[in-house]
């Protein structure tokens, strides 16, 4: 009897071990598949970095080399000297930071009114705010340009910043979040003589840090990467943003300096990638729940 149970147990153990082995092998195969796919997806980035370190002659070598024979760090220096990338960088930073701060402010204020106040015409106003998300930038492109032209704002920071200081989608997201904070908190604050604005500033905003951070992130990245509007509204080199600078840098000069172009593309990409790695978790989570909004 006992030997039977022992044999049984041994058999069971064996079965479990085999199952584990099969599972392990299966996971190993999937691991390799994912590795291969990830490598394929990263290939353009790898090729960008590799090319950015090659000498002009090696860039045109066939078959292409995967490790530069001689690391041509001077590509980065040359790229920086050939076009005013410092200026582009500054323009992009000024515009993206101003838009982020301004957009967040206007969104917080409007979302607070929608989430926490009762007023006449609230529903109509909310519909109006939501409807802005349906009007795409392509439709307003020509008239907005004509307005800027009349205001004499072409080639100015205002033109790059002001149109983006409101965001209907952001208002919606923040309103949803503000509504989850208990009403009792506000009543308690009110009893203690706290004004409505102070409640927003000292209680609601600190409590909503995660959503504010993700909204700020979207605003910043969307604006940093934006292309069409800066392309249209800036003519002078001194007002171009990084994305537009890159475009003219690449299309303007002959077609033989791919090493330098790739160095430039990498420099343009880097800030956003760094930010991504710093706040990866917030980023992925908020993207899953809110969706990315492109400009």
């Amino acid at each position: 009897m006992s030997s039977l149970t022992m044999a049984d147990a041994a058999l069971k153990r064996k079965r479990v071990a085999r199952k584990r082995l099969v599972n392990g092998a299966q996971n190993g195969v999937w691991f390799l598949v994912v590795c291969a796919l990830a490598f394929a997806v990263m290939l353009p980035f790898i090729w960008m970095i590799v090319t950015s370190l090659k000498s002009p002659t090696e860039v045109f070598a066939y078959p292409p080399t995967w490790i530069p024979k001689e690391f041509q760090w001077s590509n980065y220096v040359e790229m920086w000297n050939k076009a005013p990338f410092g200026r582009y960088f500054m323009n992009s930073a000024i515009v993206a930071i101003c838009v982020t701060i301004g957009q967040l402010t206007s969104c917080v204020l409007a979302a607070f009114a929608f989430a926490r106040m009762e007023f006449k015409g609230k529903n109509v106003m909310f519909m109006i705010f939501l409807s802005t998300t349906m009007i795409s930038s392509q439709v307003t492109l020509v008239p907005t340009y004509l307005v800027m032209r009349t205001l004499n704002w072409i080639d100015s920071y205002q033109a790059l910043i002001v149109p983006f200081l409101a965001n209907g989608f952001g208002v919606f997201m923040l309103r949803q979040s503000f509504r989850t904070i208990p009403k009792e908190l506000e009543e308690a604050a009110k009893l203690d003589g706290c004004s409505r604005f102070r409640f927003l500033w000292q209680i609601l905003i600190p409590l909503s840090k995660p959503i504010l951070a993700s909204q700020a992130l979207f605003a910043f990245m969307g604006n940093w990467n934006s292309y069409q509007w800066p392309l249209i509204i800036t003519n002078q080199d001194s007002m171009r943003t990084l994305q537009i600078g890159l475009r003219y840098f690449v299309s303007g000069e002959g077609s033989t300096q791919w090493g330098i172009y790739m160095a430039a593309a990498l420099v343009v990409t880097l800030p956003v990638i760094i930010i991504y790695f710093l706040v990866q978790k917030t980023f992925v989570e908020s993207m899953a729940s809110t969706g990315l909004k492109d400009i």
């Binding site: 999937w30 990830a38 997806v41 090319t51 045109f60």
Partner: protein
């Protein structure tokens, strides 16, 4: 004591009635103050331009000249003119051609999301790898792909073709291949976003469903077919419609890589609008295109709302 309290309460109530109204008015006033910054920006930069777009579309307005009212002539011209109409129709066709990438992207992203949903070691690293193209600026990745698609033999894709024994291609300079090239890049750069959305959707499906089905002897395929697929349906529909609407707006990659060429093969309606406005400076005609594009997007948004309402019924 009770009586006096009641009395006091009554007087308070009597006083409250008018002051409550006053307070309500005050609150309304304050609320609009909070809305004001957004309202000003929306009025000047969204509602007025949207309206003005329709007005301008009824004018012949070639900058720097003066505007002249011509009624619906811009629209008639776009649809019937012997030279203009074929290009406009081609641009509409190209727009939908470009949108073909969206369902392809959907399928690939879903497969990858299913793969990444397994318990694989270092899954975070892989997620980052798939996601990086999404956050990188379109201008920068377009420059990189311009180099990958280089028509000479040292272009990376051509060198791969050579090693496979296939003749080299001119990619973006070939009218037949240019659009598929743009679509391929679009899939590559858009995948990460879809994967994140799908992973969130997959993780929201209760694991008890799978466990119960497994006990009933369901295999991997039927688990997918009868649990994952229907429960992920609304998410997929959302991703599909948003993807199509976004693909109608595609501009950056076209401007950096092909400028609508070769032979208008990649000239989408959004790009054609830009060309008319900012290369030919025909503001009236460009506005007419903008209005038509807007109607198309509105139609898609309407479809999205209608069907999403209907299909979100689980749990």
């Amino acid at each position: 004591m009770n009586l006096s309290m009641l009395k006091a309460d009554k007087t308070v109530k009597q006083q409250v009635a008018p002051s409550a109204k006053k307070r309500k008015n005050k609150e309304t006033f304050e609320a609009y103050l909070y809305l004001l910054p957004s309202l000003i920006i929306f009025t000047v930069f969204t509602f007025f331009p949207a309206f003005f777009s329709m007005v301008v579309s009824t004018f012949r307005w070639n900058l720097p000249g003066k505007a002249m009212f011509i009624g619906l002539e811009n629209y008639i011209y776009l649809f019937t003119d012997a030279i203009e109409a074929p290009i406009f129709w081609q641009s509409l066709g190209n727009t939908f051609y470009f949108a073909v990438g969206v369902p392809i992207n959907l399928i690939i992203s879903l497969l990858l999301a299913l793969l990444l949903n397994r318990k694989i070691r270092g899954v975070g690293v892989f997620r980052t790898a798939f996601f990086l193209p999404t956050i990188t600026s379109t201008a920068a990745i377009s420059v990189v792909w311009l180099w990958l698609f280089h028509p000479a033999q040292y272009g990376l894709f051509n060198s791969i073709l050579i090693s496979l024994g296939i003749p080299i291609q001119s990619w973006l300079r070939d009218p037949l291949l240019a659009m598929p090239c743009l679509i391929a890049m679009g899939i590559w750069s858009g995948m990460g976003y879809n994967i994140i959305i799908f992973l969130a959707g997959l993780q929201s499906i209760p694991s008890t469903y799978y466990e119960a089905a497994k006990i009933d002897g369901a295999n991997t395929f039927s688990l997918f077919r009868f649990i994952t697929w229907p429960l992920l349906g609304p998410t997929m529909f959302y991703v599909l419609t948003v993807g199509i609407i976004n693909s109608l707006k595609a501009f950056t990659e076209i401007d950096v890589m092909t400028q609508g060429g070769p032979l208008n093969a990649t000239n989408t309606t959004a790009y054609y609008l830009y060309q008319n406005a900012f290369q030919f400076f025909q503001m009236g005609k460009a506005s007419a295109i903008a209005v038509l594009l807007f109607l198309l997007m509105l139609l898609l948004t309407w479809i999205q709302f209608r069907f999403v309402d209907r299909s979100v019924h689980y749990e």
